[in-house]
Protein backbone atom coordinates (compact mmCIF):
# COMPACT_ATOMS: atom_id res chain seq x y z
CA UNK A 1 0.00 0.00 0.00
CA UNK A 2 2.77 2.43 0.96
CA UNK A 3 6.27 1.99 -0.32
CA UNK A 4 9.20 4.20 0.62
CA UNK A 5 12.44 4.00 -1.33
CA UNK A 6 15.71 5.62 -0.28
CA UNK A 7 14.04 8.45 1.60
CA UNK A 8 16.40 11.21 2.73
CA UNK A 9 15.57 14.46 4.47
CA UNK A 10 18.19 17.09 5.18
CA UNK A 11 17.81 20.38 7.02
CA UNK A 12 20.06 23.39 7.27
CA UNK A 13 20.73 24.09 10.95
CA UNK A 14 23.09 26.31 12.90
CA UNK A 15 25.71 24.48 14.94
CA UNK A 16 27.22 25.62 18.27
CA UNK A 17 29.65 27.89 16.36
CA UNK A 18 26.62 29.46 14.65
CA UNK A 19 27.71 28.06 11.30
CA UNK A 20 25.06 26.65 8.97
CA UNK A 21 25.49 22.92 8.58
CA UNK A 22 23.42 20.21 6.91
CA UNK A 23 21.70 17.81 9.29
CA UNK A 24 20.30 14.55 7.95
CA UNK A 25 17.08 13.80 9.83
CA UNK A 26 16.12 10.77 7.74
CA UNK A 27 18.85 8.71 6.13
CA UNK A 28 18.09 6.40 3.23
CA UNK A 29 14.87 4.95 4.66
CA UNK A 30 13.14 2.20 2.69
CA UNK A 31 10.13 0.23 3.87
CA UNK A 32 6.77 -1.13 2.84
CA UNK A 33 3.45 -0.91 4.71
CA UNK A 34 0.78 -3.52 3.94
CA UNK A 35 -2.92 -2.70 3.66
CA UNK A 36 -4.88 -3.01 6.89
CA UNK A 37 -1.92 -3.39 9.23
CA UNK A 38 -0.95 -1.31 12.24
CA UNK A 39 2.60 -0.37 11.42
CA UNK A 40 4.78 1.14 14.12
CA UNK A 41 7.78 3.40 13.69
CA UNK A 42 9.65 3.09 16.94
CA UNK A 43 12.64 5.15 17.91
CA UNK A 44 14.03 7.50 20.53
CA UNK A 45 13.41 11.25 20.42
CA UNK A 46 15.13 12.80 17.41
CA UNK A 47 15.23 9.52 15.48
CA UNK A 48 13.43 11.04 12.50
CA UNK A 49 9.97 9.55 13.11
CA UNK A 50 8.03 12.81 12.83
CA UNK A 51 10.03 13.93 9.79
CA UNK A 52 9.19 10.61 8.12
CA UNK A 53 5.49 11.09 8.83
CA UNK A 54 5.64 14.68 7.58
CA UNK A 55 7.12 13.47 4.30
CA UNK A 56 4.55 10.67 3.98
CA UNK A 57 1.72 13.14 4.54
CA UNK A 58 3.26 15.68 2.14
CA UNK A 59 3.76 18.29 4.83
CA UNK A 60 7.38 18.50 3.85
CA UNK A 61 9.25 17.43 0.73
CA UNK A 62 11.92 14.73 0.82
CA UNK A 63 15.41 15.84 -0.13
CA UNK A 64 15.76 12.58 -2.03
CA UNK A 65 13.84 9.35 -2.46
CA UNK A 66 10.40 8.21 -3.53
CA UNK A 67 7.09 7.56 -1.81
CA UNK A 68 4.43 5.45 -3.49
CA UNK A 69 0.78 4.96 -2.51
CA UNK A 70 -0.82 1.97 -4.21
CA UNK A 71 2.04 1.99 -6.68
CA UNK A 72 1.64 5.66 -7.58
CA UNK A 73 4.30 8.25 -6.76
CA UNK A 74 3.12 11.12 -4.56
CA UNK A 75 4.68 13.49 -7.07
CA UNK A 76 2.24 12.38 -9.76
CA UNK A 77 -1.07 13.19 -8.13
CA UNK A 78 -0.64 14.51 -4.58
CA UNK A 79 -4.20 15.83 -4.23
CA UNK A 80 -5.75 12.44 -4.98
CA UNK A 81 -3.41 10.74 -2.50
CA UNK A 82 -4.17 13.35 0.17
CA UNK A 83 -7.82 12.30 -0.03
CA UNK A 84 -6.81 8.81 1.15
CA UNK A 85 -4.96 9.88 4.26
CA UNK A 86 -5.82 11.16 7.70
CA UNK A 87 -3.27 12.65 10.06
CA UNK A 88 -3.17 12.83 13.83
CA UNK A 89 -0.27 15.20 14.44
CA UNK A 90 1.95 15.11 17.49
CA UNK A 91 1.35 18.79 18.13
CA UNK A 92 -2.21 19.73 19.04
CA UNK A 93 -2.97 22.00 16.12
CA UNK A 94 -6.60 23.07 16.44
CA UNK A 95 -7.67 26.43 15.17
CA UNK A 96 -8.11 28.21 18.48
CA UNK A 97 -10.51 30.77 17.01
CA UNK A 98 -13.01 28.06 16.10
CA UNK A 99 -15.17 25.85 18.31
CA UNK A 100 -14.74 22.06 18.37
CA UNK A 101 -17.61 21.69 15.88
CA UNK A 102 -16.23 24.40 13.60
CA UNK A 103 -12.79 22.77 13.63
CA UNK A 104 -14.43 19.53 12.55
CA UNK A 105 -16.49 21.35 9.95
CA UNK A 106 -13.37 23.03 8.53
CA UNK A 107 -11.75 19.62 8.13
CA UNK A 108 -14.83 18.24 6.38
CA UNK A 109 -14.98 21.22 4.05
CA UNK A 110 -11.26 20.92 3.25
CA UNK A 111 -12.01 17.35 2.17
CA UNK A 112 -14.89 18.45 -0.03
CA UNK A 113 -17.60 16.62 1.91
CA UNK A 114 -21.21 17.53 1.33
CA UNK A 115 -23.01 19.51 4.03
CA UNK A 116 -25.23 16.58 4.97
CA UNK A 117 -22.39 14.07 5.13
CA UNK A 118 -20.27 16.50 7.16
CA UNK A 119 -22.96 16.99 9.72
CA UNK A 120 -23.52 13.26 10.08
CA UNK A 121 -19.81 12.34 10.28
CA UNK A 122 -18.95 15.12 12.74
CA UNK A 123 -21.51 13.84 15.23
CA UNK A 124 -20.55 10.22 14.56
CA UNK A 125 -16.85 10.85 15.13
CA UNK A 126 -17.40 12.99 18.22
CA UNK A 127 -19.54 10.19 19.65
CA UNK A 128 -16.88 7.62 18.64
CA UNK A 129 -14.31 9.40 20.83
CA UNK A 130 -16.94 10.17 23.50
CA UNK A 131 -16.82 13.90 22.99
CA UNK A 132 -20.31 14.38 21.61
CA UNK A 133 -21.20 17.08 24.10
CA UNK A 134 -18.16 19.29 23.39
CA UNK A 135 -19.26 20.46 19.94
CA UNK A 136 -19.78 24.09 20.99
CA UNK A 137 -16.76 24.34 23.27
CA UNK A 138 -13.47 26.00 22.35
CA UNK A 139 -10.62 23.46 22.01
CA UNK A 140 -8.51 25.28 24.61
CA UNK A 141 -11.12 24.46 27.27
CA UNK A 142 -10.60 20.69 26.81
CA UNK A 143 -8.19 18.53 28.81
CA UNK A 144 -5.06 17.05 27.20
CA UNK A 145 -6.66 13.64 26.77
CA UNK A 146 -9.81 15.11 25.26
CA UNK A 147 -7.75 17.14 22.79
CA UNK A 148 -5.87 14.00 21.70
CA UNK A 149 -9.14 12.12 21.18
CA UNK A 150 -10.51 15.09 19.30
CA UNK A 151 -7.47 15.05 17.00
CA UNK A 152 -8.30 11.43 16.20
CA UNK A 153 -11.97 12.26 15.59
CA UNK A 154 -11.04 15.13 13.28
CA UNK A 155 -8.64 13.00 11.27
CA UNK A 156 -11.37 10.40 10.65
CA UNK A 157 -14.20 12.63 9.42
CA UNK A 158 -13.45 12.02 5.75
CA UNK A 159 -13.06 8.24 6.28
CA UNK A 160 -9.38 7.94 5.35
CA UNK A 161 -8.02 4.61 4.15
CA UNK A 162 -4.67 5.31 5.81
CA UNK A 163 -4.26 6.98 9.18
CA UNK A 164 -0.97 8.48 10.32
CA UNK A 165 -0.63 8.95 14.05
CA UNK A 166 2.42 10.80 15.29
CA UNK A 167 2.98 9.98 18.97
CA UNK A 168 -0.78 9.91 19.64
CA UNK A 169 -0.48 9.15 23.35
CA UNK A 170 2.49 11.31 24.27
CA UNK A 171 2.20 12.82 27.77
CA UNK A 172 -1.11 11.12 28.51
CA UNK A 173 -2.00 9.21 31.63
CA UNK A 174 -2.25 5.39 31.34
CA UNK A 175 -6.07 5.34 31.37
CA UNK A 176 -6.40 7.74 28.45
CA UNK A 177 -3.57 5.97 26.64
CA UNK A 178 -5.39 2.65 26.82
CA UNK A 179 -8.59 4.29 25.63
CA UNK A 180 -6.77 5.60 22.59
CA UNK A 181 -5.27 2.16 21.97
CA UNK A 182 -8.81 0.76 21.90
CA UNK A 183 -9.77 3.40 19.34
CA UNK A 184 -6.80 2.47 17.15
CA UNK A 185 -7.65 -1.24 17.36
CA UNK A 186 -11.25 -0.46 16.44
CA UNK A 187 -10.08 1.45 13.36
CA UNK A 188 -7.75 -1.32 12.25
CA UNK A 189 -10.58 -3.82 12.70
CA UNK A 190 -12.60 -1.76 10.21
CA UNK A 191 -9.75 -2.06 7.66
CA UNK A 192 -7.97 1.24 8.11
CA UNK A 193 -4.21 1.06 7.68
CA UNK A 194 -2.61 2.75 10.68
CA UNK A 195 0.94 4.06 10.75
CA UNK A 196 1.92 5.08 14.21
CA UNK A 197 5.11 6.60 15.55
CA UNK A 198 5.93 6.18 19.18
CA UNK A 199 8.80 6.09 21.58
CA UNK A 200 6.71 4.07 24.03
CA UNK A 201 7.84 0.51 23.49
CA UNK A 202 4.86 -1.03 25.25
CA UNK A 203 2.62 0.91 22.86
CA UNK A 204 4.31 -0.59 19.81
CA UNK A 205 4.19 -4.02 21.41
CA UNK A 206 0.53 -3.74 22.34
CA UNK A 207 -0.70 -2.35 19.04
CA UNK A 208 1.52 -3.01 16.06
CA UNK A 209 1.49 -5.90 13.61
CA UNK A 210 4.96 -4.86 12.47
CA UNK A 211 7.50 -2.42 13.82
CA UNK A 212 10.33 -0.49 12.17
CA UNK A 213 13.02 0.49 14.63
CA UNK A 214 14.74 3.72 13.61
CA UNK A 215 17.63 5.53 15.20
CA UNK A 216 19.45 8.68 14.08
CA UNK A 217 17.38 8.74 10.90
CA UNK A 218 18.31 5.21 9.86
CA UNK A 219 16.20 2.07 9.71
CA UNK A 220 17.78 -0.41 12.11
CA UNK A 221 15.38 -3.32 11.73
CA UNK A 222 11.83 -4.15 10.70
CA UNK A 223 9.76 -7.11 11.90
CA UNK A 224 6.84 -8.20 14.08
CA UNK A 225 7.22 -7.56 17.83
CA UNK A 226 7.13 -11.34 18.41
CA UNK A 227 9.88 -11.96 15.85
CA UNK A 228 12.09 -9.30 17.47
CA UNK A 229 11.71 -11.04 20.84
CA UNK A 230 12.20 -14.46 19.32
CA UNK A 231 15.42 -13.42 17.59
CA UNK A 232 16.92 -12.54 20.95
CA UNK A 233 15.52 -15.49 22.87
CA UNK A 234 12.09 -15.73 24.46
CA UNK A 235 13.27 -15.51 28.07
CA UNK A 236 15.44 -12.81 29.61
CA UNK A 237 17.57 -13.02 32.72
CA UNK A 238 18.32 -9.65 34.31
CA UNK A 239 20.80 -9.07 37.13
CA UNK A 240 23.11 -6.46 38.65
CA UNK A 241 26.83 -6.89 39.17
CA UNK A 242 29.92 -4.71 39.48
CA UNK A 243 29.68 -3.78 35.78
CA UNK A 244 26.08 -2.55 36.12
CA UNK A 245 22.76 -3.92 34.93
CA UNK A 246 23.14 -7.04 32.78
CA UNK A 247 20.89 -9.06 30.48
CA UNK A 248 21.11 -12.48 28.88
CA UNK A 249 18.56 -14.11 26.56
CA UNK A 250 17.54 -17.78 26.43
CA UNK A 251 15.27 -19.97 24.36
CA UNK A 252 13.57 -21.65 27.33
CA UNK A 253 12.76 -20.89 30.96
CA UNK A 254 14.76 -23.99 32.05
CA UNK A 255 17.95 -22.70 30.36
CA UNK A 256 17.35 -19.29 31.91
CA UNK A 257 16.79 -20.78 35.38
CA UNK A 258 19.92 -22.91 35.08
CA UNK A 259 21.95 -19.82 34.14
CA UNK A 260 20.40 -17.70 36.93
CA UNK A 261 21.43 -20.40 39.42
CA UNK A 262 25.08 -19.85 38.55
CA UNK A 263 24.95 -16.16 39.40
CA UNK A 264 26.31 -14.89 42.74
CA UNK A 265 23.58 -12.30 43.19
CA UNK A 266 19.87 -12.70 42.66
CA UNK A 267 18.46 -12.51 39.12
CA UNK A 268 15.10 -11.74 37.61
CA UNK A 269 13.68 -14.08 34.97
CA UNK A 270 10.98 -12.75 32.63
CA UNK A 271 9.63 -12.86 29.09
CA UNK A 272 11.71 -10.97 26.51
CA UNK A 273 9.92 -7.86 25.32
CA UNK A 274 10.28 -5.31 22.55
CA UNK A 275 12.23 -3.02 24.85
CA UNK A 276 14.99 -5.63 25.06
CA UNK A 277 15.12 -5.84 21.28
CA UNK A 278 15.10 -2.08 21.01
CA UNK A 279 17.98 -1.67 23.45
CA UNK A 280 19.97 -4.43 21.79
CA UNK A 281 19.45 -2.85 18.36
CA UNK A 282 19.88 0.82 19.18
CA UNK A 283 22.29 0.48 22.06
CA UNK A 284 20.46 3.09 24.08
CA UNK A 285 17.72 3.36 26.63
CA UNK A 286 14.15 4.18 25.66
CA UNK A 287 13.43 7.92 25.39
CA UNK A 288 17.04 9.02 25.87
Amino acid sequence: MIKIQGLIKEFQVKNKDKKTVTKRAVDNLSLHVKPGEIFGILGPNGAGKTTTIRMLTMETKPTLGEIYYNGESIKKNPLEIKKLIGVVPQHINFDNDLTVGENMELHGRLHHMSSEKRKQRIQEMLDFVELGDTINRMPRSLSGGMKRRLLIARSLIHEPKILFMDEPTVALDPQVRRRIWDLIRALAAKGTTVIITTHYIEEAEALCNRVAIVNKGKLIAIDTPEAFCKSLGRITVEWDDADGHQYQFFESRQEAAAFAGTLEHGAHIRRTNLEDAFIELTGRKEGV
Binding site: M58, F94, H111
Partner: protein, 245 residues
Protein backbone atom coordinates in the same frame (compact mmCIF):
# COMPACT_ATOMS: atom_id res chain seq x y z
CA UNK B 1 -10.30 25.44 -6.47
CA UNK B 2 -13.33 27.72 -5.94
CA UNK B 3 -14.68 25.38 -3.27
CA UNK B 4 -11.33 25.50 -1.45
CA UNK B 5 -11.21 29.31 -1.66
CA UNK B 6 -14.71 29.40 -0.16
CA UNK B 7 -13.61 27.05 2.66
CA UNK B 8 -10.65 29.25 3.60
CA UNK B 9 -12.84 32.34 3.40
CA UNK B 10 -15.57 30.60 5.43
CA UNK B 11 -13.15 30.03 8.31
CA UNK B 12 -12.23 33.72 8.47
CA UNK B 13 -15.84 34.77 8.06
CA UNK B 14 -16.91 32.59 11.03
CA UNK B 15 -14.25 34.23 13.18
CA UNK B 16 -15.07 37.74 11.96
CA UNK B 17 -18.82 37.25 12.39
CA UNK B 18 -18.30 36.28 16.02
CA UNK B 19 -16.26 39.42 16.67
CA UNK B 20 -18.06 41.81 14.34
CA UNK B 21 -19.31 44.34 16.96
CA UNK B 22 -15.86 44.51 18.57
CA UNK B 23 -14.22 44.72 15.14
CA UNK B 24 -16.44 47.62 14.06
CA UNK B 25 -15.98 49.53 17.30
CA UNK B 26 -12.22 49.12 17.33
CA UNK B 27 -11.95 50.16 13.69
CA UNK B 28 -13.81 53.41 14.43
CA UNK B 29 -11.23 54.74 16.88
CA UNK B 30 -8.30 55.63 14.59
CA UNK B 31 -10.35 57.22 11.78
CA UNK B 32 -12.37 59.21 14.34
CA UNK B 33 -9.15 60.59 15.79
CA UNK B 34 -7.79 61.45 12.34
CA UNK B 35 -11.04 63.13 11.34
CA UNK B 36 -11.33 65.08 14.58
CA UNK B 37 -7.66 66.11 14.81
CA UNK B 38 -6.81 66.71 11.17
CA UNK B 39 -10.20 67.21 9.58
CA UNK B 40 -12.15 69.16 12.16
CA UNK B 41 -9.43 70.64 14.34
CA UNK B 42 -6.35 71.40 12.27
CA UNK B 43 -8.01 71.23 8.88
CA UNK B 44 -11.01 73.51 9.49
CA UNK B 45 -9.12 76.60 8.38
CA UNK B 46 -7.14 74.97 5.57
CA UNK B 47 -8.35 75.14 1.99
CA UNK B 48 -6.88 72.65 -0.50
CA UNK B 49 -7.58 73.55 -4.13
CA UNK B 50 -11.30 74.16 -4.47
CA UNK B 51 -12.36 71.88 -1.62
CA UNK B 52 -11.91 71.62 2.13
CA UNK B 53 -9.03 69.83 3.80
CA UNK B 54 -11.56 67.26 5.07
CA UNK B 55 -12.42 66.36 1.46
CA UNK B 56 -8.69 66.07 0.74
CA UNK B 57 -8.06 64.02 3.87
CA UNK B 58 -10.77 61.35 3.71
CA UNK B 59 -9.45 59.43 0.63
CA UNK B 60 -5.98 59.42 2.25
CA UNK B 61 -7.37 58.06 5.50
CA UNK B 62 -9.28 55.39 3.60
CA UNK B 63 -6.10 54.40 1.75
CA UNK B 64 -3.96 54.15 4.87
CA UNK B 65 -6.67 52.49 6.93
CA UNK B 66 -7.41 49.83 4.32
CA UNK B 67 -3.65 49.22 4.13
CA UNK B 68 -3.31 48.73 7.89
CA UNK B 69 -6.41 46.58 8.28
CA UNK B 70 -5.58 44.30 5.36
CA UNK B 71 -2.00 43.86 6.50
CA UNK B 72 -2.90 43.19 10.11
CA UNK B 73 -5.73 40.81 9.16
CA UNK B 74 -3.20 38.26 7.95
CA UNK B 75 -0.37 38.69 10.44
CA UNK B 76 -2.04 36.25 12.94
CA UNK B 77 -1.12 33.58 10.37
CA UNK B 78 2.38 33.86 11.80
CA UNK B 79 1.26 32.41 15.15
CA UNK B 80 -0.99 29.91 13.39
CA UNK B 81 2.09 28.78 11.50
CA UNK B 82 4.64 28.72 14.32
CA UNK B 83 2.80 28.17 17.60
CA UNK B 84 -0.61 26.63 16.88
CA UNK B 85 0.60 24.97 13.64
CA UNK B 86 -2.99 24.99 12.43
CA UNK B 87 -1.75 25.78 8.91
CA UNK B 88 -0.73 22.12 8.75
CA UNK B 89 -4.42 21.25 8.33
CA UNK B 90 -4.47 23.14 5.03
CA UNK B 91 -1.13 21.76 3.83
CA UNK B 92 -2.20 18.12 4.25
CA UNK B 93 -5.67 18.75 2.80
CA UNK B 94 -6.40 17.91 -0.85
CA UNK B 95 -6.46 21.55 -1.91
CA UNK B 96 -4.40 23.86 -4.13
CA UNK B 97 -2.06 26.12 -2.22
CA UNK B 98 -3.28 29.08 -4.29
CA UNK B 99 -6.78 28.52 -2.89
CA UNK B 100 -5.43 29.05 0.61
CA UNK B 101 -3.66 32.27 -0.37
CA UNK B 102 -6.62 33.65 -2.31
CA UNK B 103 -9.11 32.73 0.45
CA UNK B 104 -7.00 34.45 3.07
CA UNK B 105 -6.52 37.55 0.90
CA UNK B 106 -10.26 37.79 0.21
CA UNK B 107 -10.97 37.60 3.93
CA UNK B 108 -8.49 40.42 4.52
CA UNK B 109 -10.08 42.46 1.71
CA UNK B 110 -13.47 42.05 3.39
CA UNK B 111 -12.09 43.40 6.64
CA UNK B 112 -10.43 46.27 4.79
CA UNK B 113 -13.68 47.13 3.02
CA UNK B 114 -15.76 47.00 6.21
CA UNK B 115 -13.26 49.34 7.80
CA UNK B 116 -13.36 51.67 4.77
CA UNK B 117 -17.16 51.72 4.89
CA UNK B 118 -16.97 52.80 8.54
CA UNK B 119 -14.67 55.70 7.60
CA UNK B 120 -16.97 56.66 4.75
CA UNK B 121 -19.97 56.85 7.07
CA UNK B 122 -18.01 58.81 9.66
CA UNK B 123 -16.61 61.17 7.02
CA UNK B 124 -20.08 61.88 5.66
CA UNK B 125 -21.25 62.54 9.22
CA UNK B 126 -18.37 64.98 9.56
CA UNK B 127 -19.58 66.79 6.44
CA UNK B 128 -17.09 65.55 3.85
CA UNK B 129 -17.98 65.55 0.15
CA UNK B 130 -17.15 62.21 -1.41
CA UNK B 131 -17.71 60.85 -4.89
CA UNK B 132 -17.78 57.08 -4.50
CA UNK B 133 -17.75 55.24 -7.82
CA UNK B 134 -17.20 51.57 -8.75
CA UNK B 135 -13.64 52.52 -9.72
CA UNK B 136 -13.12 54.05 -6.27
CA UNK B 137 -14.19 50.75 -4.67
CA UNK B 138 -12.05 48.83 -7.17
CA UNK B 139 -8.94 50.82 -6.21
CA UNK B 140 -9.70 50.25 -2.53
CA UNK B 141 -9.97 46.50 -3.18
CA UNK B 142 -6.69 46.54 -5.10
CA UNK B 143 -5.01 48.37 -2.21
CA UNK B 144 -6.41 45.81 0.26
CA UNK B 145 -5.14 42.96 -1.93
CA UNK B 146 -1.62 44.40 -2.09
CA UNK B 147 -1.27 44.89 1.64
CA UNK B 148 -2.99 41.60 2.48
CA UNK B 149 -0.28 40.00 0.33
CA UNK B 150 2.38 41.91 2.24
CA UNK B 151 0.81 40.65 5.48
CA UNK B 152 0.66 37.09 4.16
CA UNK B 153 4.28 37.20 3.03
CA UNK B 154 5.42 38.65 6.36
CA UNK B 155 3.44 36.02 8.31
CA UNK B 156 5.10 33.24 6.31
CA UNK B 157 8.60 34.65 6.61
CA UNK B 158 8.79 36.26 10.06
CA UNK B 159 9.33 34.14 13.12
CA UNK B 160 7.78 36.29 15.84
CA UNK B 161 5.31 39.06 16.54
CA UNK B 162 8.23 41.34 17.30
CA UNK B 163 9.52 40.95 13.74
CA UNK B 164 6.02 41.52 12.37
CA UNK B 165 5.64 44.70 14.38
CA UNK B 166 8.91 45.92 12.86
CA UNK B 167 7.22 45.82 9.45
CA UNK B 168 4.50 48.02 10.97
CA UNK B 169 7.06 50.40 12.44
CA UNK B 170 9.53 50.68 9.57
CA UNK B 171 7.28 50.21 6.55
CA UNK B 172 3.59 50.82 7.20
CA UNK B 173 3.84 53.70 9.67
CA UNK B 174 6.11 55.90 7.49
CA UNK B 175 3.94 55.10 4.47
CA UNK B 176 0.82 56.06 6.44
CA UNK B 177 2.08 59.61 6.83
CA UNK B 178 4.23 60.19 3.75
CA UNK B 179 2.37 58.62 0.83
CA UNK B 180 0.09 61.53 -0.01
CA UNK B 181 -2.38 60.68 2.69
CA UNK B 182 -2.28 63.84 4.83
CA UNK B 183 -0.49 66.20 2.45
CA UNK B 184 0.62 66.29 -1.16
CA UNK B 185 3.97 64.62 -1.89
CA UNK B 186 4.78 67.61 -4.14
CA UNK B 187 5.99 69.48 -1.08
CA UNK B 188 8.68 66.85 -0.38
CA UNK B 189 12.34 67.14 -1.54
CA UNK B 190 12.72 65.76 -5.05
CA UNK B 191 14.88 62.68 -4.31
CA UNK B 192 12.68 61.72 -1.40
CA UNK B 193 9.56 62.35 -3.46
CA UNK B 194 10.82 60.06 -6.23
CA UNK B 195 11.09 57.23 -3.69
CA UNK B 196 7.69 57.97 -2.14
CA UNK B 197 6.04 58.10 -5.57
CA UNK B 198 7.13 54.52 -6.27
CA UNK B 199 5.27 53.15 -3.22
CA UNK B 200 1.81 51.63 -3.76
CA UNK B 201 0.04 53.66 -1.08
CA UNK B 202 0.97 56.90 -2.88
CA UNK B 203 -0.74 55.66 -6.03
CA UNK B 204 -3.80 54.55 -4.03
CA UNK B 205 -4.04 57.91 -2.24
CA UNK B 206 -3.86 59.90 -5.47
CA UNK B 207 -6.23 57.63 -7.31
CA UNK B 208 -8.85 57.68 -4.55
CA UNK B 209 -8.52 61.43 -4.15
CA UNK B 210 -8.70 61.96 -7.92
CA UNK B 211 -11.87 59.88 -8.21
CA UNK B 212 -13.41 61.48 -5.13
CA UNK B 213 -12.83 65.00 -6.45
CA UNK B 214 -13.86 63.94 -9.97
CA UNK B 215 -10.42 64.71 -11.42
CA UNK B 216 -8.90 62.69 -14.30
CA UNK B 217 -7.63 59.28 -13.19
CA UNK B 218 -3.98 58.34 -13.82
CA UNK B 219 -4.33 54.96 -15.48
CA UNK B 220 -0.60 54.28 -15.06
CA UNK B 221 -1.20 54.32 -11.29
CA UNK B 222 -3.82 51.59 -11.70
CA UNK B 223 -1.27 49.60 -13.71
CA UNK B 224 1.38 50.13 -11.00
CA UNK B 225 -1.04 48.82 -8.35
CA UNK B 226 -1.89 45.82 -10.52
CA UNK B 227 1.83 45.02 -10.90
CA UNK B 228 2.28 45.26 -7.13
CA UNK B 229 -0.66 42.89 -6.64
CA UNK B 230 0.78 40.34 -9.07
CA UNK B 231 4.28 40.50 -7.54
CA UNK B 232 2.75 40.22 -4.06
CA UNK B 233 0.84 37.09 -5.04
CA UNK B 234 3.92 35.44 -6.55
CA UNK B 235 5.98 36.20 -3.44
CA UNK B 236 3.17 34.99 -1.14
CA UNK B 237 2.88 31.76 -3.10
CA UNK B 238 6.62 31.15 -2.88
CA UNK B 239 6.66 31.93 0.84
CA UNK B 240 3.82 29.44 1.43
CA UNK B 241 5.52 26.72 -0.61
CA UNK B 242 8.71 27.33 1.37
CA UNK B 243 6.82 25.93 4.39
CA UNK B 244 7.24 22.51 2.76
CA UNK B 245 11.05 22.70 2.89
Amino acid sequence: MLQDICTVFWRDWVVLKRRLPKFILSRMVAPMLYLVAFGWGLGRNIQVGSGSYLDFLVPGIMALNSMNISYNSLTPLCTERIYHRSIGEYIIAPMHFNAFIIGKILAAVLRGLISSAIIMILALAFGANLNITPLFVGILILNCIIFAEVGFFAAMKMDSYEELSQVNTYVLLPMSFLCGTFFSTRTLPEVFRWFIDVLPLTHTSYLLRGISTQSPVALESVAVLAVYAIIGFILGNKAFRDQLK
